[in-house]
C-alpha cells in the first residue's frame, strides 16, 4: 500500500561518522548545500560524541538555519498506550535558537566556569507570536507562559513582558503564567490543565521530555523545527546507540514527524492517510517494546514489523482515536521580525571580573580602589553575593570576583574609562578576566543589583 506523497528526496549523511573522521562540526558543505536547497528535511536522531569540543549538531542545525520554533505535541492514546494521564493533550512550543544553547562557555579562573544565557527581544517575539498563531490555527483555547522571572528578572523577565504584550493581540485566547519549577511540577502531575505552553529553550527541552514521557513513551512523539525559510522534522527522543540496528526502536516518533512535515508542505491529504494508518496500528495493539503492556497490547513487534503494519493499514481509519482531519492548504508563516527604534543607551560604568586567590576582601577592595578615576568602585560580589562593602564572614568565596565601577553622577561615563581602567589594572597586577559594561536605556538600568545590595 502507498500513501502517494508528492515528494522527491535526497539522502544526506551527517553526524557521528563525520565527527569521528575529523570534521568537528559533524556536517560537510555538500550536505549543507542540499539542505539549504531543499529547505525541508526529515532528520533521524543523531549522536553528539560525549566530551571533547564537539558542538551538538542538532543545535547547530536549528540555529544556523534559523529554525526558531520547536513544536512538540504530546497527546495520550489511552486506552491503547498505558499512561497515568489519559486526558492529556499538550503542545509545547519551545524557543529553539538562544538561551544557554548559545553554547558560549569560558573558564577564566582555576575554580569557576561560566556559560552565557542570552535572551533576545526578536527571539521572544518570534516564538511567542508563533505560539499564539498556532493556538488560533489549531483552535486551542489557552497559551501558558513558563519562565523563572522571580530570579532572572531581566532575561526571563523580558520573555514574560513580551508574552503579555503579544497576548493582548489575541483576546479570544486565554493565557496564564507559571514559574518554571511549579509549572513543571503541575505539568508532571496534572497535564490536562495545560493546552499550549510557550517557553524558553532549556525549559522547553525539559518540559517537552516530561510531557512526551508521561503520555506513555518518549518514543511516540514527533516534533517540528520551523524557520522563516527552512523547516526540519524529527522525533522528540534522541539517539539510543545501545539499541541501534537491533530492530527494537519505536519508529512512531519519526513517522509522526513525517506526518507533521507533509502537513507543513501543504500535503495535508497525505498526512491524514499516514496518521490514520498509524492510529489503526496503535489501536489494534501492535506495539513495540517501549509501549508493549500485557492486557493492553496484542502483539509485540520490532521496528520493521511495526512499519509494515502501518503500511498495511494505509487507507483505513481508526475507530476510537480521532480520525485525522487537518485544515487544508494552510501554512503558518509569520512576518519577518521588524527591528524596533532603539532606546537611548548611556554608559554608566563597568563590571570588571577579577581572578584573585587572596583572603581578605578589604585587601582586594583597596587595590581596586586605586583604579578609581572618574568611575569608582561601588561593590564587589562573589558568585553574585555582595561581599564589599559590608559583607558577611559566612559567605563562601571562590577566586572569581565581580567588581562594579560606576560614575557617581547623572552624566554618561566616557568610553575611554574602560580601556584606561584595564591598562591601570595591569600595572597594579590585578588579573582582569572579563568585563560587562553597564548601560541605562532611556534612563532604565540595564544591570541587576548585587544579592544583599
Amino acid at each position: 500500500m502507498k500513501a502517494n506523497a508528492r515528494i522527491e528526496w535526497d539522502e544526506i549523511e551527517i553526524g557521528e561518522q563525520l565527527y569521528l573522521s575529523g570534521n568537528t562540526s559533524g556536517i560537510d558543505k555538500k550536505a549543507w548545500d542540499k539542505i539549504v536547497g531543499n529547505q525541508v528535511f526529515l532528520k533521524a536522531p543523531i549522536t553528539t560524541p560525549q566530551g571533547g569540543g564537539y558542538k551538538s549538531l542538532n543545535v547547530t542545525m536549528r540555529k544556523t538555519l534559523g529554525l526558531y520554533a520547536n513544536i512538540r505535541p504530546c497527546k495520550s492514546f489511552h486506552p491503547f498506550v498505558a499512561t497515568k494521564h489519559p486526558e492529556m493533550d499538550v503542545v509545547i512550543i519551545r524557543e529553539n535558537e538562544e538561551d544557554l544553547y548559545a553554547g558560549i562557555e569560558h573558564r577564566q579562573t582555576e575554580e569557576v566556569v561560566q556559560c552565557l544565557k542570552l535572551i533576545s527581544r526578536p527571539g521572544c517575539e518570534k516564538i511567542i507570536r508563533y505560539a499564539f498563531e498556532y493556538a488560533r490555527l489549531y483552535k486551542r483555547k489557552k497559551v501558558s507562559c513558563f519562565v523563572k522571572d522571580n530570579i532572572m528578572k531581566m532575561t526571563d523577565g523580558l520573555f514574560h513582558t513580551i508574552f503579555k504584550e503579544i497576548a493582548v493581540e489575541y483576546p479570544e485566547i486565554e493565557t496564564d503564567n507559571w514559574i518554571i519549577d511549579i509549572g513543571a511540577a503541575r505539568l508532571a502531575d496534572t497535564p490536562e490543565m495545560f493546552d499550549v505552553i510557550v517557553t524558553a529553550n532549556l525549559y522547553g527541552d525539559v518540559i517537552s521530555d516530561i510531557a512526551a514521557q508521561i503520555t506513555g513513551s518518549v518514543g511516540l512523539a514527533g516534533s517540528a523545527n520551523i524557520g522563516q525559510k527552512c523547516a526540519m522534522f524529527e522525533a522528540i527522543h534522541g539517539s539510543a546507540p545501545p539499541i541501534a540496528g537491533q530492530n527494537v526502536a519505536n519508529p512512531s516518533g519519526l513517522l509522526r514527524a513525517a506526518v507533521m512535515m507533509l502537513s507543513h508542505i501543504g500535503q495535508q491529504d497525505v498526512a491524514e492517510i499516514v496518521k490514520n494508518a498509524w492510529a489503526c496500528t496503535i489501536e489494534e495493539g501492535i506495539h513495540t517494546a517501549d509501549i508493549y503492556k500485557e492486557n493492553v497490547s496484542r502483539q509485540l513487534v520490532g521496528t520493521r514489523e511495526f512499519a509494515q503494519a502501518v503500511i498495511a493499514r494505509i487507507g483505513k481509519q481508526p475507530s476510537i482515536i480521532p480520525v485525522a482531519d487537518y485544515e487544508k492548504d494552510v501554512q503558518l508563516l509569520l512576518p519577518v521580525y521588524a527591528r524596533k527604534t532603539p532606546a537611548k543607551k548611556v554608559l554608566k560604568g563597568v563590571d570588571v571580573f577579577v581572578d584573585w586567590k587572596g583572603g581578605e576582601v578589604e585587601e582586594l577592595a583597596s587595590s581596586l580602589q586605586r583604579l578609581n578615576n572618574g568611575i569608582e568602585l561601588t561593590m564587589i560580589t562573589n558568585r553574585g553575593v555582595k561581599v564589599w562593602p559590608e559583607g558577611f564572614n559566612e559567605t563562601f568565596c571562590t577566586d572569581h570576583w565581580r567588581c562594579r565601577y560606576e560614575i557617581p553622577s547623572e552624566r554618561a561615563a566616557e568610553k575611554g574609562y574602560i580601556p584606561d581602567l584595564l591598562r591601570k589594572a595591569i600595572s597594579e597586577n590585578i588579573d582582569v578576566i572579563k568585563t560587562e559594561n553597564l548601560y541605562e536605556f532611556d534612563g532604565v538600568k540595564g544591570f541587576s543589583l548585587g544579592q544583599g545590595q
Copy 2:
C-alpha cells in the same frame, strides 16, 4: 501536649514589609545579627515583590550565609495521601549558591539581555560530597547525577566530572548519570527508580518541585539548607499571598522542616516525637484542603486545626507509616573546601562583544579586522552560531555579536593587547559592550568553539 524541644528562639521580621518600606534587600542589620548569632533558623515562605529590582531574599540568605546544600526529601504517604506514585521515596540534593541564581544580568544592546551561569569547582565538590555523605549516613543505595553536559560541556561538564571523581570514594554506593531533560521525564513518570539525586541549582529547583508535587502535594515537604556554620529550614513550597491568613494552608511543609531542624541540632529524640505525631494525623485522615480527597480523607481541617490535631497526638506512633527512627547524636558536617594547586593559565585571546545594527556581516568583519594587532579576528558568532567566516544567509542575527580574537601562535597573548584593542575600537567607532578573555589551563582550552565551527 508538648514535645519538649530544648530550644530558645527569637522571632525575626524579614521580607515584603521591609521591601515595601524601602529596604531593597528585604532584611535589616538587626535581623542579620540575630541570624548569624543563632546560626540555625526556621523560615516561613516569603514573597519577593514581582518586577522591580528586588532580589529574591531566599536566594540572598542562602548565599550570604553559605548554605550550599539544599536537601529535599520527597516521599509518598500512600494510601493516606492520594498519589499516582505510591512507591516513591526520593531525596533531591540541590546546589544552593551558584548557577544562574548568581543573578548577574546585563542588558547591553537594544535586543539582547544576558544572565551569567557560574559553576565552580568548590561549589560542585561541596554539594556532590554532601550527597554521598548523606547517602552513606541515611543508608541510601544510589546517587544519580542530573546535568545537561551534552550542551553545556564546560559548566555542566565540570559538575559531571567532579561527580565521577567523588563517586569512586564511595564504592558501596551505586551511581548513574542522567541528562536533565530525560532524567526529569523519568522522575515525573517513574520516580521509584531514583533514590538520591544531586544536581545544580536551577535543575534542582525544578525537579524538587516535580518530586514534591507528585507525592500528592507540594505542601507536604520540608527542606534543609545547610552550610559550614549556619543552617536554615523551610517548607519546599513558596508563599501563596492569595490564601494568606485564611487558615487553609497546609502547615506540613513547615512542620517537617522543623523536624529536620531538630534532627540537625542533635535533638533527634524530639524530632521523632513530632514526626510521629504528624504521621498519626495524616494516617487518621485529618487533612487540609490541598490533600483532602473523598474516600481517602476523613476530616477536612484548616491550618490551625491541623496543628492542634498534631499536638493532640504527641507521644503516639503511626501504625502504617513507618515510625520515625533517627540515628542519634550524628551531624553531617563536611571538611572545609581546600583550594587546589592552580593549573598554569595562559592568555590566548579575547572574545569582544559588539553592539552593531548593520546588515552585512562582511562589513562588520572588515572593520573589526582593522583592530588586528598581534591578535587576529578568527570568528564572529551571533547568539553562538558562527556567521563569519562562511556563514549562512538563513541564520537570524540580533544586534549582539561575539567577535573572537586569538593569537596565531603557541605564545601567550600580551596583557596589553586587550586595552589596546578596546582603545582602537573606540577610535574605529566599534561599540564594544563586553569582553571575555580566552585562556588555556595547562594547555587545555578554557573556551568553547562556535556552533558550526
